[in-house]
Symmetry: C2
Subunit: 130 residues, 2 copies
């Protein structure tokens, strides 16, 4: 049985986050006689799973569903796939939005002298009346 520090080192999830995930019901922890949390291999595997899902940008509520599906041996892979593709759509929408901002701003900046003079199309765009 590992302490929270060991579980953190093994799973790559900070102790702080492990406690947080427990507080929102994503992970379980046994308690030793001294009230310290203890973790077995299963819990560490859950933590690693969460870390991987987070690395793919899944919000914690999605992670919760993924964990449920993971534990469900009778899951339909269709459900996992739907969850994943919905998330992909969300990611791509956000990426598109950010890239659109970047492109607009880059165009504006391209026309800015960028010297000591005050006039600047970026500022001009921001102060437009529409």
């Amino acid at each position: 049985m590992k302490s929270i520090g060991e579980a953190a080192a093994e799973s790559g999830v900070s102790a702080k986050m492990i406690r947080h995930y427990e507080s929102i019901g994503l992970v379980d922890a046994q308690r030793a006689a001294n009230n310290y949390r203890t973790y077995g291999k299963d819990e560490v595997a859950v933590l690693r799973f969460i870390r991987h899902a987070r690395a793919l940008g899944f919000p914690l509520e999605d992670v919760r569903r993924l964990l449920d599906l993971w534990r469900d041996r009778n899951r339909a892979s269709a459900e996992v796939k739907r969850l994943a593709l919905d998330h992909v759509a969300t990611l791509e929408a956000k990426a598109d939005s950010l890239r659109a901002m970047a492109t607009s701003l880059r165009h504006l900046a391209a026309h800015c002298h960028g010297d000591a003079r005050p006039d600047c199309p970026i500022i001009a765009e921001l102060e437009k009346k529409d």
Copy 2:
């Protein structure tokens, strides 16, 4: 002189946000005898400026600097340009990060049957040991 509701309608910034921007010192408001906030054309122009900057993804701290530069008639456009291009870099980094997640996940999903069977490469990836 406009009320906060009128300033909101004219600027496209919600009354809630106008109050918030005031609380963090981005905007100023005069008070009428009844303690209601009042706004002139200048303040509405500031609010519009903020909305445009936010639409380009500038965080409020950047907006604060942009407002200072806007008000400074002796500004060097180089400063505005640097701020903008730094922000563009941030936006593109985030967009790239999101797109990388989307691409990985899309590849995983492409190999998922997506039927009633439980086995799924997405889940398999998440439970990997590394």
